[in-house]
Amino acid sequence: MNIDSIQNGVVIDHITAGQGMKLYHLLKLDETDLSVAIIRNVVSRKMGKKDIIKIDADIPVNLDVIAYVDPGATVNIIRNGALVEKRQMELPEMLTDVLTCKNPRCITSTEQELKHVFRLTDRENKVYRCIYCETKAGI
C-alpha cells in the first residue's frame, strides 16, 4: 500500500495499533478539510503493528492529546520533504478540553461554559482527575 510522502506537514508515527481513529477524532481532524491519511495496522519491526496519521499541512497539533492517548507515539514535523523535528511525548500535567467529565453530579454537567480540565494525579498509572469533582478520567 502506498501513501504519498508529504512535503509540509505532520506525521504521527508509532501509534499503538487501533488507536489511530481515536486520535483522529480527539485531535478534531474530522472537523477540518485537510488531507489526512490514517494508516492502520502497518507492520512495524519495533511494535509488531502500528497506526500512522499523516496530515498534509503544517498545523499545530495538540501534543497533550497525543501524549494522553498514546505516550509512545512520535510526532514528526516535515518541511520541504525533510524531517525537521521529531517530538517525543510526555504526559501533560493538565488536559484542557480534551476529555469531558462523565460524572453527572459534576458542576461541568450543568454549567456549559466551564472548561473541562483534568489534572495528572498518578503519573505511574496515568490517572487524570477532573479538577472540579476529582472523578477519574476515561475516554
Partner: protein
C-alpha cells in the same frame, strides 16, 4: 492574601492545630472575640437544603460581631434565572467579605473560589467535600481524646457517598498510629480512590467489615453516618440500604467505656435516641464544636485576606 478552603486537605496539620487552638480559646473566652469581625459580612449561599450548616455559619459570624447576608435556596436566587456559579461568586464578592457556599454539584465551590475576589468556604459540594464538618469532627476528637494519634476509628454506614467520611479518612490518615475499621454494606464501601489516596498512600492499616457488633470492642471512635436519600439515583436502592445499621444501647454493651460516638447529623434512625444520654454520645457536642471551628476558620481567612 485571599485564600479559599474547598477540601480539608487545603489545610496543613499545623494549620489544623492552630484552628483547634483558636477554637479552644474562643470556648474559654468568647468575649475576647465578640467584636473580632465588626462590620464584616458573611454571605451564605446555600443552593441545597441545609439547616445546621447554614445556621452554624450564621451563628459563628454573629458571635464574631459580624453580619450575615443570605441566599437560602436555589429557587429564590438568580441561579433560578440561569446565572452561573462563576457570575454569582463575582457578584457576591461586591457585597460581602467572605462566602460560605453549599451547592448540589460537585466542584461548584472550586468554581466559586476561582472566580470570587473574597475567600470562599466550601459548605458542601454534592457528595464531594465538606471541610467544615471535618473541622467539627476533629475538634470533637481532640476534646474527647486530647490526641490525633494511636486511635482506632470505626466508620459506619454509607461510606461510599458520605463525603464527611472521606474527608475524615483523609484528615486522620496524616497522623501516626491510627487504624480504621470500615463498617458498611457491600454496596456502600469506601471508594477505591479514597483508599488509594490516603490509606494506602500513608500505609494506614484498615479492615472492612459488615459486622458492627463484632468490631465494637476495638473502637476508640465510632463515626456513624446516615444513608442519604439525595445521593441515590434509584429509590429502590435507598430503601433497601437505609436501615443497614442502627446503633442501640444493646450494641454498645461491649464497647470501650471511653468510646466517643460521633455523627455528622442529621440522623434519621441510625442512632437510637436512647443513646443520647450515654456519656459516650458526642454528636451534639460535635454540633457546638462545628460553630467554634467555623468561627476560627472565618477569623483565619479574613486575617489572611487582610480584611481584619
Amino acid at each position: 492574601m485571599k485564600r479559599s478552603i474547598i477540601d480539608i486537605l487545603d489545610l496543613s496539620t499545623q494549620e489544623l492545630e492552630e484552628l483547634i487552638a483558636t477554637a479552644e480559646d474562643i470556648i474559654a473566652d468568647p468575649d475576647k472575640y465578640a467584636h473580632a469581625c465588626d462590620r464584616k459580612k458573611l454571605a451564605t449561599l446555600f443552593f441545597e437544603p441545609s439547616t445546621r450548616t447554614r445556621m452554624s455559619f450564621e451563628a459563628a459570624m454573629y458571635e464574631l460581631g459580624g453580619h450575615v447576608i443570605s441566599v437560602s435556596s436555589a429557587m429564590s436566587s438568580s441561579a433560578a434565572k440561569g446565572e452561573s456559579v462563576a457570575d454569582t461568586a463575582k457578584t457576591v464578592s461586591c457585597y460581602a467579605d467572605i462566602i460560605a457556599m453549599r451547592h448540589p454539584k460537585e466542584g461548584a465551590a472550586y468554581v466559586a473560589a476561582t472566580n470570587a475576589t473574597i475567600p470562599v468556604i466550601n459548605a458542601g459540594d454534592g457528595g464531594h467535600c465538606h471541610p467544615t464538618q471535618t473541622l467539627a469532627d476533629l475538634l470533637t476528637i481532640w476534646r474527647e481524646k486530647r490526641r490525633f494519634e494511636g486511635l482506632t476509628i470505626g466508620l459506619c454506614g454509607d461510606l461510599k457517598f458520605g463525603r464527611t467520611v472521606h474527608s475524615l479518612i483523609n484528615a486522620m490518615s496524616r497522623y501516626n498510629g491510627n487504624r480504621f475499621v470500615l463498617i458498611s454494606p457491600e454496596e456502600l464501601k469506601v471508594p477505591s480512590y479514597v483508599k488509594k489516596g490516603s490509606l494506602k498512600k500513608f500505609n494506614i492499616p484498615y479492615t472492612q467489615t459488615t459486622d458492627l457488633e463484632a468490631v465494637m470492642p476495638e473502637l476508640d471512635i465510632l463515626y456513624m453516618t446516615r444513608v442519604q436519600r439525595e445521593r441515590f439515583f434509584n429509590e429502590e436502592d435507598y430503601l433497601r440500604l437505609k436501615d443497614s445499621y442502627i446503633l442501640t444501647p444493646d450494641k454498645l454493651k461491649n464497647a470501650k467505656p471511653d468510646l466517643a460516638i460521633l455523627h455528622p447529623l442529621p440522623r434519621v434512625n441510625e442512632i437510637s435516641v436512647a443513646i443520647d444520654d450515654d456519656p459516650r454520645a458526642c454528636y451534639f457536642k460535635q454540633v457546638l464544636n462545628g460553630k467554634y471551628m467555623r468561627m476560627a476558620l472565618i477569623l483565619k481567612l479574613l486575617k489572611e485576606a487582610g480584611t481584619i
